[in-house]
Amino acid sequence: MKDVQRRNFLKTSVGLAAVTIAPGMLLFKVAHGESDDNSKVRWGMLIDTSGCTNGCRECIDACNKENGLSGGLAPTDSQWIRKIEIKDVSTGHEFGLPMMCQHCAEPPCVDVCPTGASFKRHDGIVLVDKHRCIGCRYCMMACPYKARSFVHEPLHNQNPDVPRGKGTVESCTMCVHRVDEGKQPACAEACPNKSILFGNLHDPNSEIAKKIRAVASTQVRADLNLNTGVRYQGI
């Protein structure tokens, strides 16, 4: 909490400085600084890693298919979601989990993006507005989760629902096109163990909110105080 306050303080002071440098065009943005802690909807996920047995890649395949990703594994290929295999060196305990954009409430990628292409929707989904992205890749430097990919090649035959293109940065959209139609993200739907629970974190009666209250869940790199929208259970 303290950190968030400090960040906000930083933002305001920086904002004031910037306003004095370039008035006019900036005032607008400051006025628009939305606080969406009290927004009615915040989409999130709770992932139960106990179901993520070694070798299971259902969520990844579903994501690739839904979003028209090639599924290639070269360092220049996009991977919106990936399986991380984890081993506790001291105990030898091994487990795995899917890692993707954590849809932070305080997303570093949004803070650093020079054009505002990286942004957070009022419902908490962090997206890249590809109309504005200039492809500077600063957000990729800033993301603690390595969640973003840069489109290194011209693309063809994109899914009509999922526009993607060369020279811009992309990442998990929480299947925003499905969510807006009242559906679940593709990964959540595909998981054979129902390990990915998707829902509205701000609705106290939603299944996810209830479960988060009931079980111990973790944020990855909680030390950074980003208040992630994706939480894990069992790590």
């Binding site: 933002k11 920086v14 910037a18 306003v19 440098i21 370039a22 065009m25 900036l26 943005k29 400051v30 594994l73 070269a74 360092p75 220049t76 290929d77 996009s78 991977q79 990936r82 399986k83 991380i84 295999e85 984890i86 081993k87 506790d88 060196v89 001291s90 890692m99 570093p108 949004v110 803070d111 650093v112 993006c113 020079p114 054009t115 505002g116 292409a117 504005r132 992205c133 200039i134 492809g135 500077c136 890749r137 600063y138 990729m140 430097m141 800033a142 993301c143 603690p144 989760y145 390595k146 840069f150 489109v151 290194h152 011209p154 020279g167 811009t168 940065v169 790199r221 950074l224 790590i235």
Partner: protein, 394 residues
């Protein structure tokens, strides 16, 4: 008389040959950019792990040096030292030239370079990158005004306040460049408060080195001798700057060693990271520091030659440092689960690999060539040659 005429003729030809050469480099760079536009960044060595590569090494060197070179002007204007004042115009010119080159590289490397004006229109105030666009354009304007105030008699009165403004602005600018990295708190290599001051001190050394090189070439070209006392003093100043930046780099690594979770990164970058420690120790420490310091402070060195050599070594060392800092810093994987061993298809827990491609190197050299062309043409058509009254101790 006729021999000097023939010499002049030869020089003229050399001048145009040099310009043509630099022009060719720029053309090659543009060709590389065009190819990058058509095929995408796949033809560079950059990837999703090493997202900033060779172009950024060149661009950041040029921008940092562009700020540092103004030191010469500041010492003249702000502190009123005559020998530096005489060099202020040249310093201003070099600054503009390098800033142009560096920004061109940065811009042309974008995934969507045609949208480079967007940061100015859709300005995101929390972004250091966006502030930097203001800092850079402001610097351009200020330095041009400053140059004008020095060249135009009627404007001379403004020269001092403008000099002070440039002095302040360039501090903020280099701080801004350092902040680009300092704000990346999630990365072990960056996210350190020491980075902005480190960049400021480094800019002094790199800027001074570039200034030395250019000044010596100009003097040689015009068959003039730089007064040895002047050279000696500036050489010593360069030495001090080198020591200063070495100190900052040492502190940066020491503070990193202090944080337990950054130990493994320091091990990687200083010991067993292959090309990175090699470049760091041989390139940065040895060539970039030990060699120039020896050349500067060892007694009995021929001033002129050793100053030139030392400056070149500092520039090379600067590039080596940036390569290690920027690329090495990204090659080391992010630590998502401290204390655990991780692996994935997306490079988690693995050192990223990066081989710069010819295209991005061409782009980088294109930036150098732009700076070269701006400097050469301006020095040729305008009077940027430092005019020293006979040496005044100050």
């Amino acid at each position: 008389m006729s021999t000097s005429f023939a010499l002049q003729h030869k020089k003229n030809r050399l001048y145009y040959a040099l310009l043509a050469g630099a022009g060719l480099v720029v053309l090659l760079a543009l060709y590389a950019v065009d190819l990058m536009e058509e095929k995408g960044h796949i033809i560079t060595g950059m990837n999703n792990q090493i997202v900033w590569g060779m172009p950024h090494v060149f661009a950041i060197f040029l921008i940092v040096a562009a700020s540092g070179v103004l030191n010469v002007a500041s010492i003249g204007s702000v502190f009123g030292k005559a020998i530096y004042k005489a060099r202020a115009p040249l310093a201003g010119l070099l600054s503009i030239a390098m800033l142009s080159g560096g920004l061109a590289v940065l811009m042309l490397d974008l995934g969507r370079p045609e949208r480079f004006m967007l940061p100015a229109l859709d300005f995101n105030i929390t972004s250091v990158f966006a502030w930097n666009t203001i800092l850079y354009s402001g610097m351009f304007g200020l330095v041009i005004a400053y140059l004008w105030s020095m060249f135009e008699k009627r404007m001379n009165v403004y020269s001092k306040p403008l000099g002070v403004a440039v002095f302040a602005w360039r501090f903020i600018l280099t701080t801004g460049t350092g902040l680009i990295f300092a704000f990346l708190t999630a990365r072990q290599a960056f996210g350190s408060a020491i980075l902005p001051p480190m960049f400021v001190v480094m800019s002094f050394a790199w800027g001074m080195a570039v200034f030395h090189i250019v000044q010596m070439v100009i003097y040689a070209w015009n068959d003039k001798e730089l007064e040895p006392e002047i050279l000696e003093r500036k050489k010593r100043l360069l030495g001090l700057f080198i020591l200063g930046s070495l100190y900052m780099v040492a502190v940066y690594h020491m503070t990193n060693l202090y944080f337990a979770h950054r130990m493994s990164f320091e091990r990687f970058i200083l010991l067993d990271g292959g090309v990175y420690p090699a470049l760091f120790w041989w390139g940065y420490v040895l060539i970039g520091n030990v060699l120039p310091l020896a050349l500067i402070f060892m007694p009995g060195m021929k001033t002129k030659k050793s100053a030139m050599m030392a400056s070149l070594a500092v520039v090379l060392g600067g590039f080596a440092f940036l390569y290690v800092f920027i690329i090495g810093g990204q090659a080391f994987p992010l630590d998502l689960f401290p204390g655990y061993e991780v692996s994935s298809t997306f490079g988690d827990g693995k050192i990223g690999s990066y081989t710069p491609s010819i295209y991005e190197i061409l782009l980088g050299f294109g930036g150098l060539a732009i700076a070269f062309i701006i400097t050469t043409v301006s020095v040729h058509v305008l009077n940027f040659m430092p005019h020293d009254k006979s040496y005044i101790a100050d």
